[in-house]
Structures are given as C-alpha cells and as structure tokens.
C-alpha cells in the first residue's frame, strides 16, 4: 500500500476536562482490594496507568468527535476545496443508528456533497479511517476528508466499578475486569487532503496491514464491560505486529534507523515494553502516554503523533511510523513523512 498524493494537512485533539487518577479508583475499590489482599498502588503498579480523563456526564462520543473537529478547524481552517468525506472511527458508539459520522457532520454543518460513515475497527479504527479516505483521495474521487475519533470511558469504568463492588467478587473476576479500569477518554481529528490542496508537506506514505481473525474472541467488549484474555492477546498482538512491521518496512523501503518516532497505540507498560522489545524499536523513540491518559482506543495513535509533534520529537521532514493494533486481531502500520 503506497500513496503518492495524500497529505496530512492537520491533526488536532481535544482533552477531556476531568482527570481521574488510578489512586482515586483504588480508593473506591478499597473494600474489594483489601479483601483480595492487594495493597495501595497495585493498579498503577500492574498497568503503568496513573490517570485517565473523563468527559462530563452525558457528553457523547459524537460530542467529543465534534469538539476535536472544531478544534482542528479553528486552528487550521478547512481547505478551499471543502471536505468531501467525514469518517468517524471511535470504538464507542452513541447509538446503533445513526452513525456518529452523521451526527458530527450535522454538528459541523457539512453539506450534501460530503460522504459520511463510521468505521468499526476497534482501536485500529482511526488508521483504517485514514486508509479509507487516503484511497479515495489517491483515486481522485475526493480532495479532502476529515477523520475523527471521540472516545469516552466514563460509562464503562463506572459500570465496572459497580460490578467489582458487588459482594462475592473474587480475584479471577477482578483480573478479568482490570483492563477496563485502564481505559481513558480522548478526541482526535485529522484532515487529509490531495497534495494539490496541501499547504504543509506532511505526506502519508502508505504502509502495511495484517489480520489474525483466529484471535477474534480474545477481547469482547460491550458498552458496559470488557472481558479479555489479555496475556494471550498480548502475545498474539506482538506476533502480528512483528509481521506487519517487516511488511511495512519492506513496502516503504525504510529501516528502523531512519524512523524518528514510532507512534504506538497506547495500552500499558507491559504491552509497550513487549512491542518495542520484539520489534527492536529504540525506547526513546516511542513516546509513552498511557501513564497520563490510559488506553484511549482509536484516538491513541493519532494523539501520540500529535503529541510527538508538539513536543518537538517529530520535526518537518522526519519520518514517523504509526503503529496500531486492534481487537480482531488487526494491525496496521503507516509511514508519515512530516
């Protein structure tokens, strides 16, 4: 998968206003943790996640995605050619119908010539959304598109806390639900354009994608809970990433040394370490944001790229590799020349 004419014109994110520390969750779970013999600080020690953010109560995924899109438009504007596609990619959904993309398009006042649809691809959604609109741009079918993801973890976290505080919860149940407590909230938007409309030179180069559907049932999430076989999922994900990485490097003619930053999907300490070690990535070139924000689903990879740019880790002309893994199990790696 190679792109010749696709640019990332802008990327922006919106931070949820409410910070919830892991310590505060532990305080709520105090009776359970004491009963299970787990001392203070256990959640952060096990996961590496110290905090996550929540949107205000009642703030929907579409509200979050709209906020990120508006932030992008306020900072960078929209191209004169307009936007012919809007793709929403969040894991969380407001309703079975309509698609979140329709709600966001309505909020933004986009017109009849703007295709809108949702991509459901778990935490890989944003990158799949980018690929979908990049294909349309490359084919000449559209000139510009917005990709958005608005993730909210408040409901699922609160549901999990209630469930864990029920009488009779044992260590196994606690372990099964632990991952849910690492989820965070975030919103991201990216504007992709045909090169003739680009005002900055951030090229989307292409990349590779791989699937492992035999591992499709290792992580089952609903609006209220998420049950996982995390250890198996970690191994399978790292295996899949290894193959995807080799394919992406070959496709793009790159090597590890040439890449300034690896924008990894943010999950937790064990996953980050396992991935960087297996792929042989220099740890100082893979920004860690999970400690402050947790796992923010589909928003994770683009948020990491945007943060790396803000912090001066990725400068104009640098090569960055976006590395996403999502339940399914699917993996995509996309090269960007910033």
């Amino acid at each position: 998968m190679r792109y010749q004419r696709v640019h990332i014109e802008a990327i922006a994110y919106a931070l949820p206003p409410i910070e919830v520390t892991t310590l505060s969750l532990e305080r709520m779970l105090g009776p359970l943790l004491r009963r299970l013999g787990l001392a203070d600080g256990v959640l952060e020690a096990l996961t590496g996640v110290a905090a996550r953010r929540f949107w205000p109560d009642g703030f929907l995924n579409s509200d979050a995605a709209t906020l990120a899109a508006r932030t992008l438009v306020e900072r960078h504007g929209l191209p004169a050619c307009g936007v012919q596609a809007l793709v929403s990619t969040s894991v969380g959904k407001d309703y079975l119908e309509p698609p979140i993309a329709s709600l966001v398009a309505g909020d933004l006042g986009l017109g009849a010539d703007c295709l809108n649809f949702d991509v459901g691809h778990a935490c890989l959604g944003f990158m799949t959304g980018m690929t979908a609109v990049a294909n349309l741009i490359e084919l000449g079918q559209i000139d510009a598109a917005l990709v958005v993801a608005g993730e909210g973890s408040r409901t699922v976290t609160q549901g999990t806390l209630r469930r864990l505080l029920q009488p009779g919860v044992d260590f196994r149940t606690f372990s099964e639900h632990l991952a849910t407590l690492t989820l965070g909230s975030m919103a991201v938007a990216a504007l992709l354009v045909h090169e003739r409309h680009a005002t900055v030179g951030h090229r989307l180069l292409g990349g590779a994608t791989r699937a492992s559907p035999r591992h499709s049932r290792l992580c089952l999430g609903t609006a209220n809970e998420m049950k996982t076989e995390a250890a198996t999922l970690l191994r399978a994900g790292v295996d899949l990433a290894e193959g995807t990485y080799a394919a992406a490097l070959a496709e793009l003619g790159l090597s590890t040394e040439k890449i300034a930053e690896f924008a990894l999907h943010q999950v937790g300490r064990a996953n980050h370490d396992a991935l960087t070690q297996r792929l042989g990535l220099p740890p100082d070139r893979a920004l860690r944001l999970y400690a402050e924000y947790g796992n923010v689903g589909a928003a994770g990879v683009p948020f990491t790229l945007a943060s790396a740019v803000e912090r001066g880790r990725v400068r104009d002309g640098d090569l960055a590799l976006l590395c996403g893994i999502g339940s399914g199990l699917n993996c995509t790696m996309l090269g960007v020349q910033w």
């Binding site: 001392a39 632990l178 996982t228 995390a230 250890a231 999922l233 893994i325």
Partner: protein
C-alpha cells in the same frame, strides 16, 4: 456441638485416615521394595500413587475443615497455626513412611511423575484456597500473596519430611520437631505485616488488551 467437640471430631477423622494410609503404605512399600529387588518395579508405582492419593485425601479433609471454620467466622492467625499444626501432625503420623515418601518423590516412572505433578498442583491449590479463607479479613496484611504463601508452606513441610525420613534416633526426631516449632514461631511472627507486602515490592506489569 461446641467448638472443641468439632475440633476433636475433625482430628479423629484425619487421624483415622492417616493411620490407615500410613499402615497401608508401609506394608505395600515393603512388598514393592522386595519385588523391585527382583526387577519388578510395577508395585512401587502403585504404592507411590496410593501414597499420594491418601495424602491428597488428608489435605482435602483439612481444607474442608478449615474453610468451613473460616466461613463460620473462625479465621485469623490462631486458626492458621492450628491448620499448620494439623498438617504437621499428618506428616508426623506418616513418620514410619517418611522414607517411602522420599522414594515416591524421587520415583522417575512417568505415571508417578504425572501424578506427583498433579498432587503438587492440587495440594498447593488447596493450601492457597485455605489461606485465602482463613486470612480473609487480613489478606491485605499478608507478608506474601496467598499463592506464594502456599508455596512457602509446601516447601517448608516437604523439607521437614525429608529431614524426618533421615531421622534415625529419638534425638534426631526431636531436632526435626524443634525445627517445626521454630518454623511455626517464625510463621506466627511474620505472616502478617503492617507494612507494604512483599507483593508490592515485586509487582510485574501485566498484559492489557490492545
């Protein structure tokens, strides 16, 4: 039935089981050893498996006794020490069979190895479960997590079995008894800790879903 009566009945049941098992194992082992000297190792496999089955039955019985007590609110350090004593009693009752136990532990026959692995897994699981039940109100203060505490207890008792098997005189046996008494005292002193548990020192990051 009051508490002491229940305790006495529980002990009697375990004693009967152990007495029977001990006698059976000793006799069977002697026969097996004679046959092994003649080149037939099959009887030793049978006795080794029997020995583990009987010891496992004792553990099941002890587990039931102490988890039932814990469910009635009789938990804590005192009960833990009583459980430890009961396990030591069961080992002391098998004193005559301790050499046979050693042979069982070192038997390389595949069937015995398989049963031994299962015995370790099951007995450690029972121990862990009992520790969780007995210390239910104090789990946060356990010096090490229940699974590792179970492993510690198993290792300590197995070590005492080895010592017991090598005891030849009454003085030797008294030394092993003293070793148990010291172990028990250390356990009583350090099993619960007011500070951070060992678990906090050695926590490893866990995998999370992508």
């Amino acid at each position: 039935m009051d508490r002491d009566e229940r305790r006495t009945l529980g002990r009697r049941a375990a004693d009967r089981l152990l007495g029977t098992a001990s006698g059976l194992v000793e006799r069977a082992r002697m026969r097996a050893q004679k046959l092994a000297e003649q080149g037939d190792t099959r009887p030793s496999v049978v006795t080794d498996v029997l020995l583990m089955e009987s010891q496992h039955a004792v553990y099941v019985q002890l587990h039931q006794r102490f988890t039932e007590k814990a469910s009635r609110g009789e938990g804590g350090l005192e009960q833990a020490l009583e459980a430890l004593d009961a396990m030591w009693d069961s080992i002391r009752q098998l004193r005559g069979s301790a050499p046979a136990v050693l042979l069982t532990l070192s038997n390389v026959h595949e069937q015995v190895q398989h049963r031994r692995a299962r015995f370790y897994e099951e007995s450690t699981g029972l121990l862990e479960d009992a520790i969780r039940a007995v210390f239910a109100a104090d789990l946060g203060q356990l010096a090490v997590p229940p699974a590792r505490m179970a492993m510690l207890v198993r290792v300590a008792l197995e070590g005492l079995v080895v010592e017991l098997a090598q005891a030849r005189t009454a003085e030797d046996v008294a030394e092993v008894d003293q070793a148990y008494a010291d172990l028990r005292a250390l356990f009583a002193r350090f099993v619960l800790t007011p500070g951070p548990s060992v678990e906090m020192i050695s926590l490893e990051p866990i995998p999370l879903p992508w």
